[in-house]
């Protein structure tokens, strides 16, 4: 067991849950803010469904962007870690499409804690579970805590 900002953490401790239900309006707003439509570049290529749905007014075609769901998962982490924590890396796998109004429960578990000379490295498995008990996003994250 180690101390991170006076809070004891152990391997196996769970973090979260953080529940998100992205509405269609929120999804469209995020897509607009993230320039997922109407702009040439890599985002168009990577978000064909969203772009076509937005441009053609086909709301059924709109899916929640990978970036939006990734934002939820990283929010789970930043909500949990105190200000001396630093998200050093996250390795995400996008496994399933997320649609507006899906119920997304973001959760995580501490898988390892490594004490180093002047910092502590905490490893997390984090994921999003939907209303069908599927995991559309899974990730491994590394958090550094300075002593």
């Amino acid at each position: 067991m180690t101390q991170v900002l006076n809070q004891p953490h152990s391997v196996g401790d769970e973090i979260g849950p953080l529940t998100k239900i992205p509405s269609l309006e929120e999804t469209k707003y995020f897509a607009k803010l993230s320039r997922l439509n109407g702009r040439d570049g890599r985002f168009l290529k990577e978000n064909n469904d969203i772009r076509q749905g937005l441009e053609n007014g086909i709301e059924e075609a709109i899916i929640v962007s990978s970036w939006q769901s990734m934002g939820y998962l990283t929010q789970l982490i930043t909500n949990w870690m105190p200000y001396n924590g630093f998200l050093a890396s996250i390795d995400i796998r996008f496994r399933r499409v997320i649609k507006p109004n899906d119920i997304l429960i973001c959760k995580g578990i501490i898988t390892d804690i490594l004490q180093q000379t002047d910092q502590t490295l905490v490893m997390l498995d984090v994921f999003i579970e939907n209303q069908n008990s599927e995991r559309p996003l899974q990730a491994v994250a590394e958090i550094l805590f300075s002593h």
Binding site: K20, E26, Y29, F30, L33, S34, R35, R39, D40, G41, R42, F43, K45, E46, N48, D49, S66, W67, Q68, M70, G71, Y72, T74, Q75, I77, T78, N79, Y83, N84, F86, L87, A88, S89, I90, D91, I92, R93, F94
Partner: protein, 158 residues
């Protein structure tokens, strides 16, 4: 018709592999960071409250971890794969290595390269993966983050 060569490897412009190009720069405003954070329902004051953030540990609003995805950039090099089906591509995975916080007032520059193109047979048929590495630097030339991404597209006639 197939886009694979006689060894079953996908045909693409191999000249793009490892060729790093500048894909643009972007000034990061406080308003943009706050809007982006709020669009995700963020409530942490270090991301959305300038008064709190300016007196906090970073002395500035900082970017949420996914903010980099909203930065407008030019496309990276295209390996020019001749896809034989009309399927769409999607993000399979990303590894993001964070080095420094992105702060309001930063000007970011990004460089990108195609690092790998390969095929794999999944349950639904042939898949073509394109991997890229994008490095973001701030105005001090410090690396703020490195993104290793993998895009996939089905191509069942491979």
């Amino acid at each position: 018709m197939s886009n694979a060569n006689k060894n079953g490897e996908v045909n693409f412009d191999r000249g793009v592999l490892g060729k790093e190009i500048d894909i643009g720069s972007h000034y990061v405003s406080e308003a943009e960071l706050v809007s982006y954070a709020k669009s995700l329902g963020e409530t942490n004051p270090i991301y959305i409250d300038p008064v709190f953030a300016n007196s906090g540990p970073h002395r500035s609003i900082i970017a949420t971890p996914g903010y980099y995805t909203a930065i407008p950039l030019k496309p990276s090099l295209d390996p020019n794969i001749e896809f034989t089906t009309n399927s769409f591509s999607y993000m399979a995975g990303q590894k993001v290595i964070y080095k420094n916080h992105i702060k309001a007032g930063d000007t970011l520059h990004a460089r990108s390269q195609v690092t790998n193109v390969y095929t794999k047979t999944g349950r639904s048929g042939a898949l073509i993966f394109i991997e890229r590495k994008t490095t973001y630097l701030n105005q001090h030339n410090d690396t703020v983050l490195i993104v290793e991404s993998s895009n996939v597209r089905a191509d069942n006639k491979l």
